[in-house]
Every structure is written in C-alpha cells, then in structure tokens.
C-alpha cells in the first residue's frame, strides 16, 4: 500500500483558526487532507487536477487549488475552507449573498467559488464587475452562467461598505 509506505511527516497547520497536528504522507494532497483527515468535505473535487477550481481554499489568505497543493506545503501556515467562513453558526456576507441572490444552484462549485471571491474581496473590497469576472475565471460553474455569481459578489462587497 503505497501511501503507508511513503514517508510520513507530522504536519502542524492552522485550519479555520484551530491548530491541528496530523501525520501526513509527503505526497498527500491538501484536498485529501482536508476531506479525509480533517473531514471538512465542503472543499470539493471536480476534476483530475487544477482544471475547475471547486477545491479552492485560502492558504495564508491566497486562493489556491487544494487539489494541486501538497498538504506538507502548509506547515505552520493558515488554511481556510468554506466551513471556516461561518461564525457562531452565521454565514459570512459572501455566503449570505450567494444564498439570497441564487449565486448557488447545484452548489458543487459554490465553496470554491466563494473562497475565490473571499480572497478577492480581502485584497480588493470594491471590485468592478470586470475584476470579479477575472478573479473567478479559474472557477467553473455549469449552472448559473455566472450572472448571479457576479451579482452575489457585488452584493457582498456592497454590504461591507
């Protein structure tokens, strides 16, 4: 069994604001670590590697595809997932806006989409529609035609100001 044979390492990582320590294989992908070890299944796998953006999480505040990021690369760093945006059981502004504006239909791309949007709003709190379209262009959605996704991000940005 390949994974058990490959060398493991103790990984210390801040996941959604809580430090975790887990033994992980050096070749374990961040997305598998999050889903299988941390049981945070909000982060999705939609492709065979770096194609669709469904696995987007924040690594030290930057949006990265967790399916082409090694877990061990996150040593000592902060990883944020869709679950981490909820505070005291209340959805974040972006989550609320995606819900109310129907930025989500089937919902499968939604966690990655919201994380990519979160990264955008942190670095650019007042993005233009063009900024939003460019920032989300690595995240595929097959349901919405992006119309209501753009509107959701715009609404969240307006809520903030």
């Amino acid at each position: 069994m390949e994974s058990s044979r490959s060398a493991k390492r103790l990984l210390k990582v801040l996941v959604n604001g809580r430090w975790r320590e887990d033994a992980v294989a050096e070749n374990q992908l961040l997305v598998d670590y999050l889903r299988d070890v941390a049981r945070l299944t909000g982060t999705k796998i939609g492709c065979d590697g770096g194609e669709c953006g469904a696995c987007t999480v924040l690594l030290d505040g930057q949006a990265v595809p967790a399916c082409i990021t090694l877990a061990v690369r996150c040593e000592g760093r902060s990883v944020e997932t869709i679950e981490g945006l909820v505070a005291h059981g209340r959805p974040s502004r972006l989550q609320q806006a995606f819900h109310e504006k129907l930025g989500t239909q089937c919902g499968f791309c939604t966690p990655g989409m919201i994380m990519a949007a979160e990264a955008l709003l942190r670095r650019n709190p007042k993005p233009s529609d063009h900024d939003i379209r460019v920032a989300l262009s690595g995240n595929l959605c097959r349901c919405t035609g992006y119309v209501k996704i753009i509107e959701s991000v715009r609404t969240a940005a307006e809520m903030a100001s």
Binding site: M1, E2, S3, R35, D36, L40, T41, G42, T43, K44, I45, G46, C47, D48, E51, C52, A54, T81, I82, E83, L85, V86, P91, Q95, Q96, F98, H99, E100, L102, G103, T104, Q105, C106, G107, F108, C109, T110, P111, I114, I132, R133, V134, L136, S137, G138, N139, L140, C141, R142, C143, T144, G145, Y146, V147, K148, I149, I150
Partner: protein, 778 residues
C-alpha cells in the same frame, strides 16, 4: 371551501432563495463523495483499451489474488442488460463477449484502499480480437460495415420517417425555397460534480442501499433489481445532494450497477468515485448531428413547408437514442405554424461512448439549423428576422400537425420584449463593422406527457404529512439536482395552504420514504410534481378547514386560512390559530398523511403515429433571444457582449429560480455555440478534461438580461410551465445569425470556434482574390 389565500404560487414575487441554499453556501451539503465512507472499500473500473473487439480472454485471477483486493466482478457476474427504454436495452454494465467503445467497462474491483485497487487494475489480463471501428456516422453506415449489433442492419438504431400535410403542394406555393446543411459537434453536460456512487450490501438480510448522483432514483431502483436479481423491496436508493445533471444522470449509468455488484460480492460497502476523464467517458450527452434542412417561404415571410433530414451519431449503445431522434423531428413543430413537414431521422451506432439526453433533449441541433435558415431566407427576401417569426406564430389553444397540444403560447410577447430590450429596431444594420446582432426562438416541453414506463399509475404523486408539531413534511421522489425542485414543492404547498414557507419541510428522493416519481427529466417536475403537490395541499386543507369549521361552528364553505389563521367571514367573527386547528384535526384521526396526484390525460399524449408520444406535453415553454457579438477579423475570435432573453414559463412560481434557469440555459447554449466539442482520436477521447473541453469561464461570459413572460397555462400549477430548457436552443442560432450580421459570413458548423471563423474569413478572402483576378483577366 374557498380557494387559497392568494393561491397563485407567488410567495414574495421577487422569489425566494433555495430552501437548501444555506447548506450549499456553508459547505454543509453532502454530495455522494462527501458521505461517510471511511469504512468503505474503494472501487475502480477496468476499461476497454480498444474501440471494437471480441473478448478472447479476460483473466482477473492475479488481481483477485492481490492482498487487499476484496471483490472483483466481470461481465460473467451480470448476464442482464440495463437501460431505460424497455425496447432498447442492449448494454451490459460490464461488457460480455464484445467491447464496442474505448473506455467501456470490462471488469471492476474493490480493495482496501485506492493504491491497492489501482495496482490490481494493472494485473488484469485482457485480450481482444479487434474488429473494424467506426467513428463517424458515414463510416458506420457505409455498405459492408461490420455491425456493432447483429440485429441492427446498417448500424442504424432507429430510422424515423414521417410526413404531415401536402409537402409538394406547399413547396410549390413558396416564393423562395432554400436548403442548408448544418453540422453540430457532440457536446457533454460537464456537470461540475464527477460521477460517484456508494453501495452498501448486507449479506445477512440481503438488503442493498445505493446512494448515487441520480436524476431518477426510480429507474436506478428498477435496474438494480433487474441486474442483481434482488427483490425490489430489499433495495433502497437515496439521492444525496447532486452537483448538476443536465440529463447526464437521467439514464441509469454503468458505474452505479457496477458499484452495487462489487458491494454484493464484497458483502459490504463500496465507494466508487469516477475521475473527470471517466465522467466524460460515461457521456450520454448530445450526439454529433448532421442536418439537411429545406424550407419554403412566401414573400411575406410565411413558411409553407419544411423538409428535414437528421443523422445522429449515437455511440455504441442504444441509451435514449430512439427518443432523441424522435424529438429532433417532433419538435420541428409546436413553435410555428407550418402547413407541411417531412422528417427523416437516422440514429447511427458508432464505436464511441453512448450518447443520451442533454438539456433540450433532441431539439437543440434541429432548432439551430431551422433558425439559421429562417434568418438567411429572411435576409434574401429583405424581411426583418422578427417579422419572419411573427408571420408564423401559432394561436393557442391548438394542436400541431403531429397532434401535440399547444395550450398557452407567449412567443409573440417574448419577441416584443427582447426586440424592445435590445433596441433591435434602432440598432440593427447600424452597428460598426465587426459588431452584430442576431436573434432566434426556441421552445421545450414541460414534461413528456407519456411516461416511459406505462404502469397505469398517476404521473406524479406527492405525499404530505402533518403531525403534532404542526410541521408539514412534503415527500416527493423528484430529484432536486440544483434546479430548485424541492423549493418549488415547498412554495406550492405553502401557497395552497396559506401558511408560511418555513412550516414546510421537503424530503426528496429516498425510495424508503418518498413516493415513486418518474424523476427529473424533460422539465417535468414543476408541471407534474407541482400539480401533484397542489392536489395534496388541497386535500390537507380540506381536512384542516373541516376541523376548523367544527370548532368555529361554521360551515366549511365560510372558513378560510390566511397567514396561518383560520377564520370565518374575513376574521371579523371568530378565528383560530394554525396550531389549534392542527390539534383539532389530529384529535379526530391522529397524524395525517394526504396524497396528491397528477396525470396527463390521454389527449395530451401525442399522435397515433409510431413514436408520436415523443414531444407530447401539456405545455410548451417559449423563448426568444437577441445576442450581440464582436468578431475580431484578425483572429476569428468571437466575444459575446450581451444577451437579451425572454421566456414564457406560463407563470413564475419562483421568479428568482426561473431567472437562474434561463440564465443557465442560455449560457449552456453559448458554450455549445462557441467552444464546446468532444473530440476523439482513434476512439480515444482527447477532450476528457475541463481544460480540453472548453466550458466558458466567467471572464468570457456576457451579462444576460432576462425577461419573464407569463402566459398562464390553463393546466400548469398556478399556470406555470417549464423554465429550465426552453431557452437553450435559441442561443446557437442567435449567435450564428449575429456573426452573419457582423461579418457577412454564414457559419455552417458548431461550435463557431475562432479557427473555424478564421477559416471562413480566409476562404472568403481567397475567393475574393480569385474573383478579382478573373475580372482583371477578362
């Protein structure tokens, strides 16, 4: 008893968010791959490396012997075919004797972890005697071609020939007759969730539970019983959250049955997660289609006759092919008034992954050809594209030549709305070079009026439960796959009862709990399940009103429920809160379950000619759209600047969801029109990733301005019809018509990729040079 308080299915006319939306935005929603499966075995499929061949030897003994491999299954483990159409089940979950496409499942195994399963796959020994393989309809239909299926001469799955009206006379009455040949590439649903299934078999009880990405759990249930020879009562099928369908998951899919076979062989639980490449291989999408279309038109734009030949390359197995080739012909009708129509359809077998149903099933490519040719003829007759459509409108209620019912018809208003919104009249012909406007119309059924399985049962059933807590639970077998069907059920129930939406809970698609439903296909759910939900809610309301009337000592006819208060005479005299009425109703008979049903009457089920049921529906949706493009003549690149789309959905029960569906379907049409295309090299899919298969990103997707037209269908729930498919087919022709408007080139092939546009531009320049040279010489 009076009708519901408002009873028009319009809780908050701006619409309501999805009742499961918070689960989706917070990451709480569990899709199949998210289900707890730490204790499950890992399933993997061994697939044919060749396109066509006889199986000489399949040896799985080494794989079986590998430590950690728990079960292995092959074609020997399932001698039963599966499929949806009872007349066209010619496919085994795992190939037997012959493989017919590259990637066809041949064997499968379950192991303790993924690495072991993948190592074991490499130990499978497989020998085939290769047979000639065909990758185009032409090759497969050529005389002397080896047959994929021995009982299908000419590799034809189905031929359709029908003619309505006097074709010869009507072509003779035309002032202009033109013919076009149009080619449309094969496309794929590319739903973002890859396929997955989790199967759990208990050898002690013989019970099987399958959770899968299905759009129709009832079909899956039937096929599991058939293929595994398990009594249906011992099977439970559950649909978790599903990450998009678009038709991909209407048919039962091979991996679903394979996962169950593995679980039974292992005596336990197996998780099967297909890769994106395998998800593409599973396919079942819109076939590559060749269309030869001839139209007759009078000088005033009136269409006199239509002759259409369609050839679909259906892939290696039947799937839904018969339905697709029938839809392509039947839905030539139901949108315009055409006095004579001839249709010849050919569904062809080829050594490629099987095609199936995809959003706009069967109608999209023929509608594309039709709307393109209509525009070209309008141009030749110097008629405005809108005027040509208006010259051919139907008048509801009516029946088409092929006996389809048209009960409501808002196409005229759709035309008015997009013409105005796009400022068509002011702008057409006045745009700078390289910019263009194009338009087109489309329609789609609100559910197939005749179910695929004729069981005699109602076409839809919804159960409502009311217990001591005062909560109402709606049970429906309809699969919410993101389109918002559960939300629609909640709204129709709440509106009919005059209660708040929060009081209604919807449980959907779990065969142990919910009534059987024919599932989420052909846009049937709002129309049929919505009507059944209203019927159930009316039944429940009658019980509550009767209980309230007894307490209030009034006649039930004088009692109404407004805002969860039952009152007599507008509330002036006496009233009772909802909880009191529930108590009174339960005191009589305990917890209440009420069933509501809906059935399409026989007169809605299409003509008596062979295949006449396909296309039949209680209500067509209608759509018109205008597309504005910019064509870069240096690179051939097309950008879509803006889309105006109007759809007649009868009545928008949830306007927010209707907008979302219209935007999504228009945009999916855009993908097919601009970039999406499957490609095979020697049967090997070279498109099988989301980088190669170009779905439009947010950066290249335009704003879409949506107009909802409400024609109030006489039979729809609160007057509603479908909203999810009808607008798709209009986009590709509107785009091609816009390109023609921008650069004067009529593209005959989809998708209109930059290289195809460039090729057409280069060809035009070459021809112009030749013409100039000839003129100079003479």
């Amino acid at each position: 008893m009076k009708a519901g308080s408002s009873g028009d299915g319009g809780i908050g006319r701006a619409g309501v968010p999805l009742i499961d939306g918070i689960d989706k935005v917070t990451g709480r929603a569990r899709y199949t791959a998210d289900l707890e499966h730490a204790d499950a075995l890992v399933g993997r499929i061994f697939r044919s490396p060749v396109s066509h061949g006889e199986i000489i030897r399949l040896d799985v003994s080494k794989a079986r012997a590998l430590e950690g491999v728990v079960s292995v299954v092959t074609g020997d483990d399932c001698p039963y075919t599966y499929g949806v159409l009872p007349v066209a089940m010619n496919e085994y979950p795992l190939a037997r004797e012959r493989v017919r496409y590259r990637g066809e499942p041949v064997a499968a195994l379950a192991a303790v972890d993924a690495e072991t399963a993948e190592r074991a796959l490499k130990l499978i020994e497989f020998e085939v005697r290769e047979l000639p393989a065909y990758y185009t309809s032409g090759e497969a239909r050529a005389p002397g071609a080896t047959l994929l299926h021995d009982n299908k001469p000419g590799n034809l799955e189905r031929e359709v020939h029908n003619e309505f009206g006097d074709l010869r006379q009507q072509f003779a009455a035309a002032d202009l007759v033109r013919e076009e040949t149009i080619r449309c590439a094969e496309v794929n649903h590319a739903q973002i969730e890859p396929h997955a299934a989790l199967a759990d078999y208990d050898p002690l009880t013989g019970h099987l539970t399958v959770q899968s990405v299905s759009q129709v759990i009832y079909y899956l249930h039937l096929m599991l019983a058939r293929c595994l020879e398990i009594d249906a009562s011992r099977i439970r099928v559950v649909k978790p959250f599903v990450g998009g369908g678009f038709g991909a998951r209407v048919e039962v899919l091979n991996f679903e049955i394979i996962t169950a076979l593995l679980a039974r062989a292992a005596g336990g639980k197996v998780m099967m997660q297909l890769t994106r490449e395998e998800t593409f291989l599973t396919h079942r999408a819109r076939p590559q289609t060749d269309i030869r279309l001839k139209l007759g038109m009078r000088r005033d734009g009136r269409i006199t006759a239509c002759e259409c030949e369609v050839v679909q390359r259906g892939g290696a197995y039947a799937g839904y092919g018969i339905v697709t080739i029938l839809y392509a012909g039947s839905l030539l009708q139901g949108i315009y008034d055409i006095p004579a129509i001839k249709y010849d359809g050919y569904r062809v077998y080829a050594n490629l992954p099987p095609c199936g149903a995809m959003r706009g099933h069967g109608s999209v490519d023929t509608r594309h050809a039709f709307e393109c040719l209509l525009d070209r003829m309008a141009r030749e007759l110097k008629l405005d594209p809108f005027a040509v459509r208006r010259a051919n409108l139907l008048h509801a209620p009516t029946r088409t030549l092929n006996d389809l019912m048209v009960n409501s018809y808002g196409l005229g208003e759709c035309l008015d709305r997009v013409e105005r919104a796009s400022r068509w009249t002011e702008r057409i012909g006045r745009l700078p070079r390289g910019k263009g406007l194009g338009m087109a119309c489309s329609h789609y059924v609100s559910g197939a009026a005749k179910p695929i399985h004729w069981t005699g049962e109602p076409h839809a059933v919804v159960n409502l439960r009311l217990d001591f807590d005062g909560g109402i639970t709606a049970l429906t077998g309809a699969a919410d796959i993101g389109q918002g069907s559960s939300t629609m059920v909640a709204i129709t129930v709440a509106e009919t009862l005059g209660i708040s939406l929060e009081r209604v809970r919807v449980i959907a698609a779990d065969s142990a709990i919910t009534p059987k439903d024919n599932g989420s296909y052909s846009s049937r759910v709002t129309f049929m399940v919505g009507n059944a939900a209203i019927d159930a809610a009316r039944g429940l309301k009658a019980l509550l009103v009767a209980a309230a009337a007894r307490k209030l000592e009034a006649s039930p006819d004088d009692v109404e429920c407004v805002g969860e208060v039952f009152q007599v005479g507008g509330g002036g005299q006496s009233n009772l809160p909802f909880a009191e009425v529930v108590k009174a109703a339960l005191a009589e008979r305990g917890p209440i379950t009420v069933s509501g049903t809906f059935t399409c009457p026989p007169e809605a089920q299409g003509g008596k000619h062979r295949g006449g049921a396909v296309g039949s529906t209680m209500g067509f949706s209608y759509a018109a759209q205008v597309v504005e493009v910019t064509v870069d003549e240096a690179t051939g690149a097309i950008s879509v600047d803006k889309v105006w789309a109007a759809l007649d959905c009868g009545h928008a029960i949830n306007p927010l969801a209707v907008e979302g569906q219209i935007e999504g379907s228009v945009w999916m049409g855009m993908g097919q029109a601009l970039t999406e295309e499957t490609r095979y090299a020697g049967g090997l899919p070279v498109h099988a990733s989301l980088l190669e298969y170009r779905v439009p990103t947010s950066a290249e997707s335009p704003p879409i301005e949506v107009q909802i037209v409400e024609s109030r269908d006489p039979y729809g729930p609160f007057g509603a019809k479908e909203a999810s498919e009808g607008a798709l087919a209009g986009f590709p022709p509107a785009l091609i018509n816009a390109i023609a408007n921008a650069i004067g080139i009529d593209m005959s092939e989809l998708p209109a990729t930059a290289d195809r546009v460039m090729e057409a531009l280069v060809e035009r320049r070459r021809r112009k040079r030749l013409d100039d040279a000839r003129r100079a010489a003479s």
